[in-house]
Amino acid sequence: MNIDLKTLTISEASELLASGKISSVQLCSDYIERIEKIEPEIKAFVYFDKESVLKSAEESDIRRKKGEHFGSFDGIPVSVKDLICVKDQPCTCGSKMLKDVHSPYDATVVTRLKEKGFIIFGRNNMDEFAMGSTCENSSYYPTKNPWNLNRVPGGSSGGSAAAVAASEVPASLGSDTGGSVRQPAAFCGVVGLKPTYGRVSRYGLVAYASSLDQIGPIAKDVHDAAILLDMISGKDHLDSTSLDKEDVCFADVVKSAGNSLKGMKIGMPKEYYIEGALDESVFADIKQTEKLFKELGAEIVEVSLPHSKYALASYYIIATAEASANLARFDGIRYGHRSQDSNNLHELYLNSRKEGFGAEVKRRILLGTFVLSSGYHDAYYLKAQKVRTLIREDFNNAFKKCDLILSPISPCPPFEAGTLLDPLQMYLADIYTISVNLAGICGISVPSDIVKNLNVPLGIQLIGPAMGESKLLKAAKVFEDNRTIRKFVPNL
């Protein structure tokens, strides 16, 4: 049968495979064909190995024929952001620094997907070392927004979001340190989930800011995001910060979400809705969403996150401090880019890092090194940690009054490509997503509307407490089923 990739979800693909209407080889071949057709315009991938994908698809089909398949998702392709390690594949983090570096091992999320028969379907473009909000800070090429090629897909998991939106792959795994899954998902009209810190193992995720990083799924709909979360979450002995999974199947929670949010309290932080802080289109979208939630039976309550205004400063201090140490290992000694004209060890370090890293990465390493330096450590790093504690308490207090929090993802629709040149302006656009990482809680981005004159989607954010994914996914699903626009499909 003909497969309509543009709307195909993981759950539908799974049913088609189970019924024998399609094979994994056919599914993968169709995606490959689509990639070959539209990838030159989108540039969402940095690595794709057609041969190995088809080989895996054949193996999956053989398993299924014998009745030995690894569960119902065997043979379905999923791509990963270029900072998640897959054995024997390059893992470059969008950086020249790691251009020829291959991973000697699988990330835990990759192991878990492979165990379920998922086919790792290439690697997606990203802002170098996950530092950026546009996917333009890649050492390869900028990725385009499939809705409007003059707009950015968001970042840093821009390649993942664009690939899913452009139906080059049904889903992808990204990483979210300050919004890097949720914001590109919103910009591309797909679903992006940032799980609770510790819910998904970080083993095999190249670290940007270890206390904030979390791997999350980018998918066509809430159900698919839940399916992937089921697959990848849970305690991992290789990541001692990972958490045990409670006895729940998120996919089932979504399936039985129903069509009402009666009894649910949705908080709206008063600090988030100051006039003029939001683009008109975003403000209108939030108002419309608020109305819809009310209609669905939810109670809207005002909550306060009084320390929100310090979140951005706190975030950029903590994230860059950790990054300055995490990225220290890229020195040209053991692997990665090594400068060819150095006369001694010191020069080798300097030149390798000078040539290997892009400007934004250097900026953040310098910032992080500075805030940890003796004499500045207490005023910056320590202060930022204290603010972080206050922000966490803000959310704890807010969640005493509500089940979930409704907020925008970005203060504005997707930026025009090549226009966000001022780094500070870029940092400011993270304002609605970073607090979730600082607090270690969960958040989801769900497409909500389309800005007609720009032809770009908008997304809303729902925020849940730590380990509150069940509630979060349920509300997201009910919203998804009742929003005005049924399906978000770009014209490609």
Binding site: S103, A207, S210, L238, S240, Y335, L372
Partner: protein, 480 residues
């Protein structure tokens, strides 16, 4: 002018564990370069550390044995600096919440130089746990890095600047080593780099409160070298100060062959290590109950063991000190002593025979072929006169060589001591008959000549006769 010597020691001890601190690579020594490595201990992108609880437990045990306080909350931190032997260019170590805080080492008795030391407690500031770095090897045109050592659990033990002589430093280190060995924490073999020591040393005019200029000594490869280096450094500093010179803060290396130190580097501006809490590891909490449970598992301290050997086995303090100087030797003796009614004789044999042979053969007590059981059996055979002490030495030599049981050797060689009257009687009769001149001497009062007869009988019996029985019988025959 008289000067006070102020010494502080910074000791690094590799903890004996199956695997490295944060990965599952074997923590072994002497493998081919870069064979005990994995993505974690070579700092590959994406890897995460997983703490080795055996190493943490051993650090806490070391702390308890040194009388440290064990805080309920500890954590790991990152210490940043660039060097090729640091795979991540930061080291996972402990900054402000180490596993053990404050402790002490009791030193007393005769020092290494032979002089008596004042009994005192040297305090330690802290014991913390970290990962060892790799080993750089420099060749003529390039340098190599062996990552086998990278990530091996390493304890850092920092003393207060309370040591005031080379003897005290030596005693502190010896006691520390003993404790580590006793607790099974480390073999502390300095040659293998399992124990490393940096010495901070300064002089100040007697009675002055503020410290003098601190000199750091490195490249110290044995306790003996440390003793020599400290004495040499005290002399060097004293000479400079007495001649009106000024010291500069510097790091000096020790050349043990030439018995002199050399300037390595003058103190640069302080390193900024930019410590911050390791976000890849959660803080580690110990309840009072955890600590109490660990205390139950603690091995006996060497000092306590020596006291027990004196009271239970009747050893002299000196013998007990010699035997407890090394844990394995003490255990060996302790095992044997439980199986003999003559522990004092066993101690003599261990100290005079066994230790000598070990040193001749240049092997450790772990490698000896004689089991402690067999050693006890040998002592038992001697103490109940199955064999004589002299034959015992022959038997011991063969045991040492082959590891055979003493009774087997005695049986094979027919060395059983003859206490049997008729057999001895015939030897006695024969010796009297063959030596009329000596009989005459005896009869005229030169009774000491009886030893001559004993010797004759022993010769006739090929050493197997029991000398006491022989003497008794000779006496009665000659006196008759």
């Amino acid at each position: 002018m008289k000067y006070d010597v102020v010494i502080g020691l910074e000791v690094h001890v590799q903890i004996k564990t199956k695997s490295k601190m944060f990965c599952s690579c074997p923590a072994s020594f002497g493998e081919e370069p870069n064979t005990s490595i994995c993505p974690v201990c070579t700092g590959y992108p994406g890897v995460m550390p997983v703490p080795n609880y055996e190493a943490i437990k051993k650090t806490i045990i070391a702390g308890i044995m040194c009388g440290c306080e064990i805080p309920e909350l500890s954590k790991f931190d990152r210490k940043s600096y660039f060097y090729p032997d640091m795979p991540k260019n930061y080291q996972i170590t402990q900054y402000d919440l180490p596993f053990c805080q404050r402790g002490e080492i009791h030193i007393f008795g005769k020092g290494f130089s032979g002089n008596m030391m004042e009994e005192k407690y040297i305090h330690m500031t802290r014991i913390h746990l970290e990962e060892d770095v790799a080993k750089s090897v420099h060749f003529s045109t390039f340098s190599g890095i062996d990552y086998n050592r990278a990530g091996v659990p390493l304890m850092e033990i920092v003393s207060e600047p309370e040591i005031s002589s080379a003897d005290e430093a030596y005693a502190y280190l010896t006691t520390l080593k003993q404790i580590m060995q006793y607790a099974g924490i480390s073999d502390c073999d300095m040659e293998k780099g399992q124990m490393r020591c940096d010495v901070n040393i300064s002089l100040k005019p007697s009675g002055q409160i503020e410290f003098g200029t601190k000199i750091e000594l490195k490249n110290l490869n044995s306790f003996r070298a440390i003793h020599r280096a400290i004495n040499s450094e005290i002399e060097r500093q004293q000479d400079i100060l007495l001649s009106g010179g000024k010291l500069q803060q510097e790091t000096r290396g020790w050349n043990d062959d030439r018995m002199t130190s050399y300037l390595m580097r003058v103190k640069e501006s302080a390193h900024d290590y930019r410590y911050f809490p390791e976000p890849d590891l959660t803080p580690i909490c110990f309840s009072k109950e955890d600590i109490e449970n660990l205390k139950k598992e603690l091995p006996e301290l060497p000092e306590i063991k020596a006291k027990r050997f004196v009271s239970d086995y009747g050893l002299t303090e000196y013998d007990a000190a010699v035997i407890t100087s090394e844990k394995n030797l003490a255990d060996y003796f302790d095992d044997g002593a439980k199986k003999t009614s003559a522990p004092k004789i066993l101690a003599n044999w261990v100290i005079s025979e066994l230790l000598r042979e070990l040193s001749n053969a240049n092997i450790s007590i772990n490698e000896v072929k004689i089991s402690s059981d067999d050693m006890a059996k040998l002592v038992n055979m001697i103490s109940i006169n199955t064999i004589s002490g002299k034959i015992g030495k022959t038997v011991f030599a063969e045991m040492f060589e082959t590891g055979k049981a003493p009774e087997e050797i005695v049986r094979e060689k027919g060395l059983v001591q003859v206490s049997d009257e008729p057999e001895i009687e015939s030897f006695v009769a024969k010796s009297i008959q063959e030596n009329p001149m000596q009989v005459e001497q005896y009869k005229t009062g030169k009774t000491a000549v009886i030893q001559y007869f004993v010797g004759q009988v022993m010769k006739l019996s090929k050493g197997k006769a029991n000398p006491q029985a022989v003497q008794k019988m000779l006496k009665s025959k000659l006196d008759a």
